[in-house]
């Protein structure tokens, strides 16, 4: 492509059949972004909403989001989990303003319509009118039926303590949506143990939401961008590793097992970031204790398309929720957790290793930064395209990290669903 080609194409088309060259306009167009919300976040897919451990008791609720739609995850009096949209059936207000709490029912302050924890409309003030001087004034029309004016209810699926929801009641079962391969990595973390929420971290990243999915489908970058990883021997290009996908190539798992350290000229020569023989001053930062449920791998990063990333990096585990707001920005919400049977020591270890991750983390802050800079490049010349050709052009599972195959897989799926 020459430097003086059209910068803002009128009717851009994706050249060729493959998915190894992603047009910049796939990240910059508002019309495509809205279609993505419709086709990925609002239909055909399960989206992450939270953890059961966040709402342990009847009446507990937490406000969260699917795509750009505010929803409430709530445990009802029977102990079941419901997800309802946070938009009043009367005149559309986003009525729930608290982020979490405990309630017997929901009500909208504007005209005090009142909803059960299942989202059913229970009462409308002055429904039968107001009596004044022997006359009844106003009121709803006689044919008004409460049953027809509940909150929008989502389909809910829980597995291993994780709550997913979908606006699409015809969506396939969660297990089929994940597919057998990814399900296995999902169950590895969420095997039925009770989870213990350790806390939250939030960041607003000025980049297209897909860039975060890509980032965790990109095993090419960690040993390079995250100098901290390579400096202290946590990630190397020759780590034993596997890349796995579901049959649609939308979800993926990056599985790796930390090597024994030591210098290997082939993987570090030419890697500007490598510094030999560095040690942290406080060894607790890297006090890694293998846990039986790992079954070998020291890190498994799972991308569940489109809404969440499941992190197990040594002793640090978290969910990372993607909440897009516009084509060029998304909120990224981290929920760190441990397990009910963790010793106090293990909880401390997870909390200290959490320094590596999140919006200030040694090996995560830089991901947010490069996503921002990527978006800047895309906005500058939407007619251009990326080159995602490490490891070739095709899409498939892999036994090594030196490939961008997972990103090609995601865009093959994206092209199919988006018709681009």
């Amino acid at each position: 492509m020459t430097g003086n080609a059209t910068v803002f194409p009128k009717d851009p088309t994706w050249e060729g059949e493959g998915s190894s060259r992603i047009p910049f306009w796939a990240y910059t167009r508002d019309d495509l972004y809205q279609q993505e919300l419709e086709r990925f976040f609002y239909s055909g897919h399960w989206c992450y909403v939270g953890l059961e451990a966040e709402i342990p008791n009847p009446g507990d609720f937490r406000r969260t989001v699917i795509g750009e739609r505010s929803v409430i995850m709530v445990r009802d009096t029977n102990g079941a989990i419901n997800v309802v949209e946070n938009v009043c059936a009367h005149r559309g207000m986003r009525f729930c303003r608290e982020r979490h709490g405990n309630r017997k029912d929901f009500f909208c302050p504007y005209h005090q319509w009142n909803y059960s924890l299942e989202g059913d409309l229970q009462g409308v003030p002055f429904r039968r009118g107001v009596k004044q001087e022997g006359k009844i004034n106003g009121g709803m029309p006689p044919e008004f039926k409460l049953e027809e004016h509940g909150l929008t209810k989502l389909k809910v699926a829980t597995r291993g303590g994780v709550v997913f929801a979908s606006f699409d009641h015809d969506v396939e079962p969660l297990e089929e949506f994940l597919g057998p391969t990814i399900l296995q990595y999902f169950d590895r973390v969420f095997n039925g143990r009770k989870l213990k929420v350790l806390g939250y971290r939030r960041q607003r990243i000025p980049g297209n939401w897909k860039l975060m999915q890509e980032n965790i489908k990109d095993p090419y970058h960690p040993g390079l961008l995250h100098t901290w990883f390579s400096t202290f021997g946590l990630w190397r290009a020759d780590n034993k590793s596997q890349l796995r996908m579901d049959e649609h190539f939308r979800h993926a798992a990056m599985i790796s097992t930390r090597g024994q350290g030591g210098k290997n000229d082939e993987v570090v020569s030419g890697v500007d970031s490598f510094k030999d023989q560095m040690k942290v001053n406080d060894p607790r930062l890297l006090d890694i204790v293998p846990e039986p449920w790992w079954n070998g791998p020291t890190a498994v990063m799972t991308t569940v398309f489109p809404s969440v990333i499941l992190q197990q990096q040594v002793n640090s585990v978290s969910t990372r929720h993607i909440q897009p707001n516009g084509h060029g920005s998304f909120d990224f919400v981290w929920t760190h957790f441990g397990f009910d049977d963790d010793s106090e020591e293990m909880t401390q270890r997870r909390l200290i290793q959490a320094n590596l991750f999140g919006p200030a983390g040694f090996v995560s802050a830089d991901d947010g930064e490069v996503i921002e800079w990527s978006q800047e490049g895309f906005e500058q010349k939407p007619a251009h395209r990326t080159v995602v050709e490490m490891g070739g052009y095709d899409i498939g599972d892999s036994e090594h990290m030196v490939t961008e195959t997972l990103i090609r897989g995601m865009y093959a799926y994206w092209r199919k669903v988006m018709g681009q």
């Binding site: 806390g199 939250y200 901290w228 406080d282 999140g358 200030a360 930064e369 921002e372």
Partner: protein, 164 residues
Amino acid sequence: MNMTIDFQTYFELLNLYSDYAMAVDSADWEKWPDFFVEDGTYRLQPRENFEQGLPLCLLALESRAMIKDRVYGVKETMYHDPYYQRHIVGTPRVISVEGGRDADTIHSEANYVVVRTKYDGESTVFNSGYYRDVIVRTPEGLKLQSRLCIYDTEMIPNSIIYPI
């Protein structure tokens, strides 16, 4: 426990707060660990976690050695957009004092606002919160035994690299 310290001690306390702010705004990150005693801790925590009794911090640096590790990360390993930062720190409020009028240990708090300025951008409020500190007297003067920064700005504008 009392709440009175002599003016000399209060003056030292004010100096600690203003010297800290100058140091972390100066880009001379090496000075930062020296404000802490050896087993001193630095924690930067979103207000929501603090108020819900959830232990997770954005950063939980559990010793001066770990604070030094952070300095190394900031200087050597973390790729980031360079920025200037400017701390505006309120007058510290002494909560309680142990020891005599020259104080062995002071529990104090102060509001802060950090303004960030990127090279090509405007100056914006980057992080706003308050410090909850435990300060101890050492032969080298007052030092932080612990500094907990509880921030209201829970939605972080992309990333926090430099010390708050």
